[in-house]
Symmetry: C2
Subunit: 144 residues, 2 copies
DNA sequence: ACAATCTAAGTTGTGCACAATTCAATTGTG
DNA sequence: CACAATTGAATTGTGCACAACTTAGATTGT
């Protein structure tokens, strides 16, 4: 009794659609700041803890150097970060916020509320969704 | 009282991470079939309803011709679909499954269970997640 | 001391996403 | 009928993701 899986029953597709819809809501706001969504994620990490190594950024975001290296170069070209080789370990590159990069956090602080407004879900539902997604992501990572 | 948004509190990042983790679970299985995840999504639609126009595929998946045109060419090069200009309306291109494309659905039917197994969530939780994500996606689309 | 190993970052190549544009075919309107 | 407006698909260009590989610098084991 093998049956063809249906698109509208797939959790995977629901995740894929929701994720793209969410970044689409962020896109125009981030465009005002001159940022893409992954660039914004990198800055979120740096606003919490500056400076960070490329490797640490990758661990927090789940991205490798193949994604981060060119992204960080673009953030540097935009004047929001600086990359400096570590003195102790010449292999490491520390990513520092510039003054402009730090200032951006003020203008960005209103962004998350925007998704909450557009979501059509209660604060409780959003909180529960976030928790479930966190559990799911952890389980999927350990499954591979 | 503007506070810096924290990465780990963002629903948007939770969606982005979960979506990438889910496609990462699918990746090795799909690789055996010679498919990428978006290619698999296109085939899911065609297995339900064959043939489909490029525009219809785009509406179901939320993708535009800029994404679909080259993707469909690759699926055609792999021998899973054929693209034919419509006779009635020369602008339209109908995407047909080939025999090989139809056969693939049998080998693909076991794939969704794999995510369910790896998810670490009960069937109820998965079902509720899917429902919440559907509501969220719809709300986000209408918000833009 | 120094060769083998490991590690951090960068590079290359493929395949999405998505905006913007192009082009041909069709439709709507005077 | 003529012709402007619209539509469906393709193309171009940018920026992720991710695999595979490269390179330079640090570590480890004798």
């Amino acid at each position: 009794m093998s049956e063809t899986p249906r698109l509208d029953r797939q959790v995977c597709f629901a995740l894929y659609s929701a994720s793209r819809a969410a970044t689409a809501v962020y896109r125009p706001v981030l465009e005002d700041l001159g940022l893409t969504y992954p660039q914004y994620l990198v800055l979120l990490v740096l606003w919490e803890n500056d400076p960070r190594g490329v490797k640490e950024l990758g661990e927090e975001l789940g991205l490798d150097s193949g994604t981060l290296s060119p992204l960080l170069k673009r953030l540097e070209a935009l004047g929001f970060v600086e990359r400096r080789r570590s003195g102790e370990d010449e292999r490491r590159v520390a990513v520092h916020l510039t003054a402009a990069g730090r200032e951006l956090s003020v203008r960005a602080s209103a962004i998350p509320q925007r998704l909450a407004d557009a979501a059509g879900l209660s604060a409780d539902e959003l909180e529960q969704l976030r928790t479930t997604l966190g559990k799911l992501t952890a389980a999927l990572h350990s499954a591979v």
